[in-house]
Subunit: 243 residues, 2 copies
């Protein structure tokens, strides 16, 4: 292994879908780096990230698509991250800079956390520069004018895979609950919510900030529909104190 | 009351402190509106928000500072918001556009939720355009390379005023807990955390993204110190599964 000179390694959050929700910092970094690594999972094959960056007109030859298997079998994903890390480390050691792109924020339900682990297991001295991003939670709330939190309200963020059966308890403890990636368990979520009897303000948003953004307040109207991966539900407990 | 023509009303998140963490959309809106309303609470008198915008070189005469009393006496704050709303509605009715600035995100522990309530109680037909922002949680995690969430990890966001005594229970249920505005209850937080016996990765950040940003991993070293309002603690439960 060589040491200096080495390229910089960035984790860059590119926001939830609207190119205008890129930060100035993300734009600067994306324009300056040698390589733009795009994790290409089964969902969209990296095209969602590429589309967000279209207005920047970055040279196509700077993008490198990296297959990441998002299956529940973590050992498959582990091998993919290791292979990605080997490519990244080779570029860094050749003095070229690499940005790993993630929708939303790089440290929040993102592939970046895993690729960083893999890079640092090869080269523990790689210190990333991380550019935070606007998340789909904030973009969804903004699109619908849905207040997330007031004063000392607590907020729970829960991927639906964590288990929608926890929902009644969560709504007892938290003023607002954000449920991410609800597509695969949406009808069960409706059942649990109805059974809980908890009165809530509700919001469903898919593709927040993107041209195909869809906002639905009446969750029950979505029963039985095929919903996309980039979808979330916000629930705010209705109490006298909230208005 | 007149109806059309009317100016647009914006809630604009300007991010946590680093001017480069402004979004392209925030920059566009801030450059285009007639009025930039800056809520000036006791904390900094609006100067923190003004400083974030310094590189944009916006004309000083477009800023309007609005006193907001953040005391626990909500009726005082209510009067302040009502007065701010009257000024805003007058401008909108005169056809001038108004942006209400907030650090972080406008719908997340922000004055915007309250001023919007007050504006809509005067003019229910005012529909705001809301520009989401990067929060201090994501900026703090990015500054320290602290993973917020993996896979199906749940995350709890809790202002310290909600009660640090809930912490042991929260750490039992949530992989990561973000505690906001910890300045006034920091030493009690240390006591509760020590008593819980829960092993955690810990991170304290003040003024995330700003020049005076300070990052501390050893929370105990901060005991007895006077901490600023813009401060937070991230706690991630240490388990075999997290690495």
């Amino acid at each position: 292994m060589t040491s200096q000179p080495r390229g910089a390694f960035y984790g860059v959050g590119i926001g939830p879908g609207d190119p205008e929700l890129l930060t100035l910092k993300a734009v600067r970094v994306l324009r300056s780096v040698d390589w733009l690594f795009v994790p290409a999972s089964a969902v969209g094959g990296g095209s969602y990230a590429r589309r967000i960056l279209t207005p920047l007109e970055l040279p196509a030859e700077r993008f490198r698509q990296v297959p990441i298997n998002m299956s529940r079998d973590r050992s498959v994903a582990h091998d993919d991250y290791r292979q990605a890390a080997e490519q990244i480390v080779a570029e860094l050691e050749a003095g070229r800079s690499v940005a790993w792109l993630t929708e939303g924020d790089p440290l929040f339900y993102s592939t970046f956390v895993y690729v960083l682990d893999a890079v640092q297991s090869l080269r523990p001295d790689v210190t990333p520069q991380i550019v935070p991003g606007v998340t789909s939670i904030h973009a969804s709330a903004a699109a619908a004018g849905f207040p997330l939190t007031r004063l000392s309200d607590p907020l729970a963020v829960v991927p639906a895979a964590y288990g929608v059966e926890h929902l009644p308890q969560l709504l007892g403890e938290f003023a607002t609950v954000a449920l991410l990636k609800v597509n695969s368990s949406f009808d069960r979520l409706l059942d649990v919510l109805a059974a809980s009897g908890q009165a809530c303000d509700t919001l469903y948003v898919e593709h927040a900030g993107a041209p195909e953004q869809r906002i639905v307040h009446d969750l029950a109207s979505l029963r039985g529909q095929k919903l996309p991966y980039f979808s979330l539900v916000l629930l705010r407990r209705r109490t006298e104190a909230t208005r």
